[in-house]
């Protein structure tokens, strides 16, 4: 598929296609004349020995050894097989030709055959003595002639649409009808392929839009939080100030040095905060409720059925909400305990500024909004999620879950490395541009090409990687990863010591790189392109494997389950609601998480991507197992209900970094 589309592209560009040129080149080689050669008139070519041709020549020139696909390719370029022209003798000039399986554009051929009839008859006499008796195939194209390379440009790929067969005057009608039908089938397949490609593209676009919206939501929420922090700080400042001034005014003191009082102690003593502050916080509160209302609308609007990653994010003030929305049996407060515990570990990432005094009750929730706190280890190759995307391909084509496809510039002078690297990147859903050396890379960036990441070989002709990097750094901050085949770590150390890397390179990828090292590098430097975290990291269970095997590209309905006591089998049974017929439940059990945190938030996504917070519990494993089933059923029953907005709000659980 790839090569054919490439050929189409080049044909469209107006040049003669690769295929035709290769064909011409092959025929120019006199050493093949026993196997394949120009026809005697130079206006066709003949495959004299099909077997040898398939085994030796095809691989050399066309990189495959499939005669049928060679013929197919010929057909695509409107070559047609020259059929037996001299029925009288029953022999073609080149050998006993059996059938014309793939003749197309018959009318052209007919004209030709009539023209050539006489000539061919003459050949027959000349040739038949020394011709190999093996099956010979003769193909011709009006523009394909020996010694006229120029006319090659006129040979174009045919449009994929099936042609109307010209009125068939000649014999072998059934064969031609078959051909026609085959062609139609092919054309239809192409159309279907096209449509499904388009559909896939649209799905991706749709997802991207949704992700964008989610991201914006998150940003807004983050800002909200910052404002809250600032407000809190201001309030405490305000309180302290007024207290200080009070103390100063009364000048008696209260036997207590105000500086030893913490803001929190002071705050409650404050009866009347400054009115501007009061006003501000009131405004903020009003705004919050309003914003959440909007987000709720968005959440229910979005149809994240295709992407488990699109999970409605929790509202800012989840604390109180949780209490009301949560199913009655869930142990409410425990979840916040869990969050704040994680919170402690993730804080530095979330707030580099450092305002983490933990006053804010909604703070714990906030952590769950941060997409970039996911540890890079998430891309474990055994991760079942990576197998969703393309099961049929031995799970090599993984979608690491980008928000959009990362654009990568691969700068590499070595053809092999460039191709392999490009292919690997391609398999990680990256869009790749390549440059042969540093000069070309700098040129591309100067011409305004934007990339998310640059992979740069170090030793290259014309301009080496380090110099190129320095140049690029004059005007661009795109992350640059050095690729170096000085595999030993002390060499890399050396680079660092010389100051080259800290100045311009962001990281080093030792060559030869592996798919693993490559994706790890991408994960590390393209964190911002990762889609919403996929909640819980888990080793594939047997149930998962089965589920994955059972589906290919159907929309995934993902159920994330972090509770320990629930065996996959049980929950699958409990949860196969009718709306899930198409989808597949992928269950993930996170043992590690369970061990570290006493709490577990469980929620599930149904076919429509609407989530229900099934339960949140810190109960013992057994208790969870006992309590869950009724819950789940209840949740699935509500799935068709319209009023779901409230349920779609829930905290997300992250694996704790270890």
């Amino acid at each position: 598929m790839e090569s054919s589309s490439a050929a189409a592209a080049s044909a469209a560009a107006g040049n003669s296609s690769d295929f035709v040129r290769k064909l011409y080149k092959m025929l120019e080689d006199p050493s093949y004349s026993e196997i394949v050669r120009w026809g005697d008139e130079g206006d066709s070519f003949v495959v004299l020995e099909c077997e040898k041709f398939t085994k030796t020549i095809l691989p050399k020139h066309f990189k495959h050894s499939n005669f049928a696909s060679f013929v197919r390719q010929l057909n695509k370029y409107d070559f047609h097989k020259v059929r037996q022209n001299n029925e009288e003798t029953g022999q073609s000039p080149y050998g006993p030709n059996v059938s014309c399986l793939l003749s197309l554009s018959l009318w052209i051929f007919v004209c030709y055959s009539h023209l050539c009839q006489v000539v061919l008859a003459a050949w027959e006499i000349r040739m038949v003595s020394h011709v190999d008796r093996a099956q010979a195939w003769e193909f011709k194209h009006p523009e394909f002639k020996a010694n006229s390379k120029d006319s090659l440009d006129n040979i174009r790929r045919k449009a994929p649409a099936p042609r109307k067969a010209a009125p068939i005057i000649e014999e072998a009608v059934p064969t031609q009808q078959l051909d026609l039908m085959n062609q139609q089938i092919v054309a239809q397949q192409q159309q279907i392929q096209h449509l499904s490609d388009r559909y896939a593209q649209l799905t991706v676009d749709h997802q991207l839009m949704l992700q964008e919206v989610m991201r914006v939501q998150k940003t807004v929420r983050n800002h909200e939080n910052v404002i809250h922090q600032v407000m809190n700080f201001l309030l405490s400042l305000d309180a302290r100030q007024r207290r200080d001034s009070r103390i100063a005014a009364s000048f008696q003191g209260q036997g207590q040095d105000p500086s030893t009082l913490s803001p929190s102690q002071l705050a409650p003593m404050d009866d009347v905060p400054a009115s501007p502050l009061q006003h501000a916080s009131k405004l903020l509160n009003d705004m919050n409720t309003e914003i959440q209302f909007n987000l709720t609308g968005l959440d229910s609007l979005s149809d994240p059925s295709k992407n488990p990653a699109i999970i409605s994010t929790p509202p800012l003030d989840n604390g109180p909400r949780n209490g009301t929305v949560r199913p009655a049996t869930s142990a409410g407060s425990s979840s916040t305990m869990g969050f704040s515990k994680m919170n402690g570990e993730l804080d530095p990432v979330v707030y580099p500024v450092g305002a983490t005094n933990g006053i804010d009750p909604m703070y714990g929730e906030h952590v769950n909004n941060i997409p970039y706190s996911m540890p890079p280890k998430e891309l474990d190759p055994s991760d079942p999620r990576r197998q969703y995307t393309d099961v049929r391909k031995k799970s090599t084509y993984v979608d690491p879950g980008w928000v959009r496809n990362p654009h990568i510039l691969l700068v590499e002078d070595d053809d092999t490395c460039r191709q392999v690297g490009g292919k690997f990147l391609h398999s990680f859903s990256c869009v790749i541009d390549t440059a042969f050396d540093g000069l070309e890379a700098v040129g591309k960036l100067q011409n305004g090409s934007k990339y998310d990441l640059i992979l740069m070989d170090i030793i290259m002709p014309n301009l080496d990687g380090v110099s190129a990097c320095h140049l690029i750094r004059q005007f661009d901050r795109t992350p640059i990863i050095a690729m170096t085949s000085n595999i030993r770590s002390d060499d890399i150390q050396l680079y660092f010591q010389h100051g080259d890397f800290p100045l311009c390179m962001d990281d080093v990828l030792p060559k030869p790189f592996t798919r693993k090292s490559l994706i790890e590098m991408l994960e590390k430097h393209l964190v911002h392109l990762k889609s919403l975290p996929q909640v819980i990291e888990a080793p594939p269970t047997s149930a998962t494997a089965v589920a994955i095997a059972a589906q290919n590209s159907a929309p995934h309905s993902v159920k994330e389950d972090s509770s320990p006591g629930q065996s996959p089998a049980t929950s699958m049974n409990n949860w196969q609601s009718p709306s899930q017929l198409q989808g597949v439940n992928v269950q993930q059990v996170q043992g590690q998480y369970v061990q570290q945190s006493p709490t577990a938030a469980t929620f599930a996504v149904d076919q429509n991507g609407v989530q229900y917070q099934a339960t949140q519990a810190s109960l013992s494993a057994a208790a969870v197992a006992a309590a869950r089933p009724p819950h789940r059923r209840q949740a699935s029953e509500i799935s068709s209900a319209a009023d779901i907005a409230g349920f779609s709000k829930r905290p997300r659980v992250y694996p704790q970094p270890t």
């Binding site: 598929m1 090569s3 077997e51 398939t54 085994k55 030796t56 691989p59 050399k60 990189k63 495959h64 050894s65 499939n66 005669f67 049928a68 049929r392 391909k393 031995k394 090599t396 002078d413 070595d414 053809d415 092999t416 490395c417 191709q419 392999v420 292919k423 690997f424 398999s427 070989d457 030793i459 085949s485 060559k511 030869p512 790189f513 592996t514 798919r515």
Partner: protein, 155 residues
């Protein structure tokens, strides 16, 4: 035609006529495997084009090395060694890669491991000549294996 089909279906089992596992000493499987993994199901077009591209690359580089030896261009030799080291390492062709690394080091006026200096340029050249001779043999061996693996009868 039927025979062709049979051959293709053999391909997908990845065993082909040659068991790559039998040649661990020359082909590092994990590296080569991940390139095979990039092949579409049912054919080996991608990996084959890579491998055959490497053949061309290697042969050209060997020629260039010969020329550089006759012009005593150590710097160029080191560069060529480095160049071929990259692609052979990518394919997991261990022996070729190791030899290329040696040539790179010799060309940089070092010993084969690149740790000690080699003051005598003639010695460096002699080392490279010897290594080149050996690496060509190693290359032939691995090329033969790979060509057989890809069902290429033209050996």
């Amino acid at each position: 035609m039927a025979r062709v089909l049979v051959a293709r279906s053999d391909d997908s089992s990845r065993d082909g006529p040659v068991q790559l596992a039998d040649h661990r000493d020359v082909i590092e499987q994990s590296a080569f495997e991940q390139i095979l993994d990039m092949d579409e199901e049912g054919d080996k077009d991608f990996s084959k084009s890579i491998v055959y591209g490497f053949f061309e690359q290697a042969e050209t580089t060997f020629e260039k090395m010969e020329r550089a030896i006759s012009s005593k261009d150590l710097r160029e030799l080191s560069h060529l060694g480095h160049f071929l080291k990259g692609s052979s390492a990518t394919l997991g062709l261990t022996k070729v890669k190791d030899a290329c690394e040696k040539i790179q080091n010799f060309g940089a006026r070092k010993d084969e491991s690149g740790t000690a200096d080699e003051p005598d340029d003639n010695q460096s050249l002699a080392n490279i000549k010897l290594t080149l001779k050996r690496v060509k043999e190693d290359y032939k061996e691995v090329a033969r294996i790979l060509k057989r693996y890809y069902g290429d009868t033209d050996l």
